[in-house]
Symmetry: D2
Subunit: 358 residues, 4 copies
């Protein structure tokens, strides 16, 4: 066995146990193991590169992450600008609002009798409970807020900025919506009608037929303009769903109007779905390259894992090793108070793609 | 071993091979086997019960089912009123439109080089290809159609009815959108902005700032009114996603305004996601009962399988055994040409829930 | 769009509904759809090719397929020589024996209270029940049979042949073990000690320290000699597990002693595991090519599905379309009564690989 | 909302980010989140309880964990007696031997061309490579060692003890087999014939028909005697497979001979398989209670995750918080040099269950 194959270059290094190892070193040791452990370590490195490479970083968030205890991790990422734009399902924003309003989700069991829960007005999300009565109160709170808005269409982005503002002023509490408001990080919610936030909006409409109009098509334009204005982008996806596709769509739609756009430069996704059933949530990042959603030379990694198992470790490690990078980072500045929003001091055009090359 | 336990009542009967067995008998034999095979057989029986029990049946559709060859199965279900209302992702309607316009998806490989595909303008969906240039042409076709519409908000339901009408008049071809138009089956698309249909709408907006306004909040009201008008409902879910939740939300929102509503009476879902990661796509139907999305005494079954593997068999068997039931069925009549739509000759209220009990 | 890309050759053809469609035509229509539905249709074609191409076909069987109602499908495949050799987990053979002895598994529920089941001596396999008392009786029956055997090592292959013979003579009933006995199809059980058959063997040992000696290393030699004698092989794997690897190992071990062996020529697997966690059950057939377990030009397909959902359809279709091929097939003849077994009239060498080229 | 439901007792506490958080505190914070993150934190607590409660702890190990970089974690657990008995697949022991002999596995890619790998004699395990030539050399090394053994049946337990001894004496290197040898921790390998260790054994048999006889039925007796001798047991399962079932079988078989045995008192499993396909790898711990494999009041948890992603964190945290417990623990002492082995100074009976109550 004189000459080793070119394929045998970097040995797997078995993970060595050290009691109470810190997150940063843990992921450093996991870079040389295999399977999803290695992928998680790679995710940290790729995220660090995004931060050091003048990218606009999109964060997608699907699955019951807020109810499941991840909302302050996401808030931290927004506040410290580890990401620049959030795309979320409505449920995650609603469950965030629920806790920011001072209520709780509760530790439960996946094997409880659901008829008994229903009798007690308890809504179950796998192993987590919430009070339906408190949810009804949230819906009413949202409807009442919506009644204070102008009788005109709002993009989900503008609406959520106003919602975060209202929530912050009323509660002064930390969470996703309030952190995004305070850090001026835009939030898009493409499927807002498929959530209790949408239900609150519909209850305002019930009172006033001119209230509660959300312009989700306007969101497509604004999100694409974000890419056109600065075509160097990156994508961090938690859980798949509509946020994953919406982030990719922003790049595809932007490229239609500006040929400097060539797909995200970096991408990482943490998903539990698999590619072989054809759904978008589980689709591979290689597949995204065929569409031009991702540059063909992009650095990318997929971690096949439940977000609640890996995000605490990933972010604990990232915030350690990326400290200097994040200190040196000069993120784009957004002013979200207008319609349309502005970026680095210049507003996006009204109802138009910031067309350039095409 | 004299007295058998009460748990040992119905023996598993091993599946007996008969060459070229027909679908109906195949599922009949599968009722007494185990695991997902039994669940698939149960799904047929539950669907038959829905059809015989004066239910409004919602069909949810997520995952790349149209691109994957399932669009004429869905069109058949709409045309013959095996279901009464479709809730879909935008992608499934877009890929349907693509084929109805005479183009194709193509048999491909999941292991092709994606950079080569991108160079050839080929978009890949796992093992299936499509021409990006044809997609761009679809987007333009949609944008041109949108320009012909009134400059007012359309619910996705009304918009998709008009789109189906236009598509039928231009092509005369069979598909989901055209079958829904001809059979007056409403289609809701809560996440329409997260799809190429949304991209087409945004391109119309780019030309005229008053064009392309989709009122997804109005969809919440109209879908809930469908339930309020006839609270006996059932749910058939293919693949999870926003359609699954939107169908359940319609019931929850309706119950808020009418206490005769008590959740779907029957439910079946075919999903590949699992419950234990907490996401809605994989959530169990038991969990739905805690929320009141599903009646606590509802008959329900989950089939853990890829839709493309089981739907052909399920529908081939159902259409055989339910022939008489479907012949006797008198489905609700919808008039979708108005805003709002009407059901059984009576229009839903404008921008309001058809509130009754609360 | 004048010239189509070379990637766009074969259009997806949407599945067209015909009530009560027969299995053969159903899979024929599924060849042009996508995802796992297409893979299932491809599996039928590849199995047909195996049958027409002078291959020794190995069938692997893991997961609770016998308890789950698949045992007569497997028995059919052995009896009609759709396969030539079975590799199984012990549990599948044990549950087959249980039913062949006239007992049953029972239709149950995955949500039953397991403490209540334990109190009633009911063993649960997901949604299927069995009587623990009947299982204890089986163990004793096996132990008593073992006591009648010679006090010498038996390969699992020889032992299972004798067990099938005894079972046939006592019951005259159809099943996997009895069909294999009658059709002289060898069965290997590499993990026999991890099953209730192993427990029965250990109970014989408890009575006589010279009883119950199974020579699983001898199985490696005999299975490799099967490949060496006729290096053209194929693999049909249901569920992964030890059978999947053992079938591949037979080819790898054979190649070590005979360089005419070059991996299976055809392979199909129906698995629910996925490749990205690194386990053998979910490993891809491409990966198998790196090891030489599978020829690099082999025709192969993976169907990601529960076996109980797809095997009835696959076999119902195969037995229709392959009727002529199976009629013309001249399978290898085994005499399993000896130690070692013989193939086509010639015994394998005793305790040796039938070494040739190396 | 005056009185809270009894279901709403323990609030979910969102995970708070601290840069470079240590493992122990990370899992402490994860106890109050949801889904698999919470389950992982629970796994640490349950393992701690096992350690403090005079249990014999079985560790099961399946999937390519040694090749994937987990072998020194397992070796640590054996050396420091976080577990008392290992049940493993053959591949994990073989890959451990490979590295202990000074060779490596290598960081690779799941998308490499497998024909190119085969041409270079590289075997791929998902994203990890190994040299086939080095593997062939291992097989020969094992065969040569087997030739030095007595010409009598060895249980896999005794054989692996001798193999570990030989490996330690030749290499002096740390690994699973050598740590088990030095710490006198028994290893069982029920499916040894389905592995390259089995292949090495078969190659010794090829040279001498009396060599390489492994008595896997004897393993059943010895593993059950471990439980009979001290019926308080616990189970830690990594990845499912034959080890998972074999550990449970030991308890079931023991109970048959001694009615003081009542199933494991604690159980944790880290698996990627799911229950609903009926296979043993994914089966729930509730299901295990119906069989009596697990006491009905046992503390148990399932973590649905890839072992490589969670084991480093779990063990890093456990070894911190359980330091005192492990210091106070007085594990059972095994002497593995005999046939049969002895426990706490007293040998197990020869070829018999240590029957007592029945």
């Amino acid at each position: 066995m004189p000459n080793k194959s070119r394929f045998l270059r970097v040995p797997v290094e078995p993970f060595a146990v050290t009691p109470d190892l810190a997150a940063g070193e843990m992921l450093a040791r996991m870079e040389k193991i295999s399977f999803q452990g290695r992928n998680l370590a790679t995710a940290r490195r790729i995220w660090e590169k995004m931060l050091g490479d003048d990218c606009t970083i999109f964060l997608g968030m699907a699955g019951a992450l807020s109810a499941g205890g991840m909302r302050l991790v996401v808030a931290y990422l927004l506040e410290h600008r580890y990401v620049d734009c959030l795309v979320s399902t409505g449920a995650n924003l609603y469950h965030d609002l629920h806790e920011t309003r001072g209520r709780h989700h509760y530790v439960g069991s996946p094997r409880e009798n659901d008829a008994a829960l229903q009798a007690d007005h308890i809504d179950r999300v796998y192993d987590t409970y919430a009070s339906e009565d408190e949810f009804v109160d949230n819906d009413e709170w949202i409807a009442a807020f919506v009644m204070t808005l102008d009788r005109r269409p709002y993009t989900s982005r503008e609406f959520l900025y106003r919602l975060g503002e209202h929530l912050w002023k009323e509660t002064g509490r930390h969470g996703i919506l309030t952190a995004a408001y305070r850090a001026s990080v835009p939030i898009f919610c493409p499927a807002i009608s498929d959530s209790s936030i949408g239900m609150g909006l519909s209850q305002a409409r019930h009172r006033d037929s001119a209230a509660g109009l959300i312009d989700v098509i306007g969101d497509i334009i604004e999100s694409a303009n974000l890419v056109i204005r600065h075509p160097r982008t990156a994508s961090v996806v938690l859980g798949g769903g509509t946020p994953k596709n919406f982030i990719n769509q922003a790049s595809v739609q932007a490229e239609f109007y500006d040929d400097r756009v060539g797909g995200h430069r970096y991408a990482l996704q943490i998903v539990t779905d698999v590619p072989h059933f054809g759904g978008a949530s589980g689709s591979s990042l290689e597949e995204a390259q065929s569409w031009g959603k991702l540059a063909t030379d992009a650095e990318q990694v997929t971690v096949h894992a439940d977000v609640t198992v890996v995000l605490p470790l990933l972010v604990s490690a990232l915030t350690a090793s990326a400290e200097q990078t994040i200190g040196a980072r000069e993120p784009h500045r957004f002013d979200l108070s207008g319609s349309p929003m502005s970026m680095d001091g210049r507003a996006f055009p009204q109802s138009r793609f910031e067309a350039r090359g095409k």
